[in-house]
Symmetry: C2
Subunit: 86 residues, 2 copies
């Protein structure tokens, strides 16, 4: 049981960890230290996890990655916007 | 076979996406737009994935998350260092 909780915590923490970054980026519109490369690759990877989750019919993989995708894409949009301004 | 490749790509992309951010942060030492909250929570979550991976004896979960942990902790160290300077 203990390790099942560790696994659940791992999923919840890595999924919701992007929330404080999304809030900071949307609030400050400051993406100076952020890597456009990271968020482009990461968002694509998360999208693949969602597709793979549907293939496996695994609701945990689907839901966790849809949440992460929403946070990551909102950061990526601000990053792209700021990059166009330069 | 196609979806197995999608799953593998998802894991590789989300794991290595943190490499460009780690390189940028170490090179520029600029963490202005980065969220300390995100990287603290994310690094903890990745650590839990490693523990869970050992419990499952799943080499893919263990190796992917050890790689991500190395990138994430290097970003977190610079973030903490900069926060102490303020």
């Amino acid at each position: 049981m203990f390790f099942k909780i560790i696994g659940l915590l791992a999923a919840v923490l890595t999924t919701f960890s992007f929330l404080p970054q999304a809030i900071k980026t949307i609030k400050t519109q400051n993406t100076e230290g952020l890597s456009l490369g990271m968020y482009s690759i990461f968002t694509t990877g998360v999208l693949f996890w969602i597709i793979y989750g549907f293939y496996l019919k695994d609701i945990a993989i689907i839901s966790a990655n849809i949440i992460t995708f929403i946070f990551a894409i909102s950061i990526l949009i601000v990053l792209i916007k700021n990059n166009f301004k330069k």
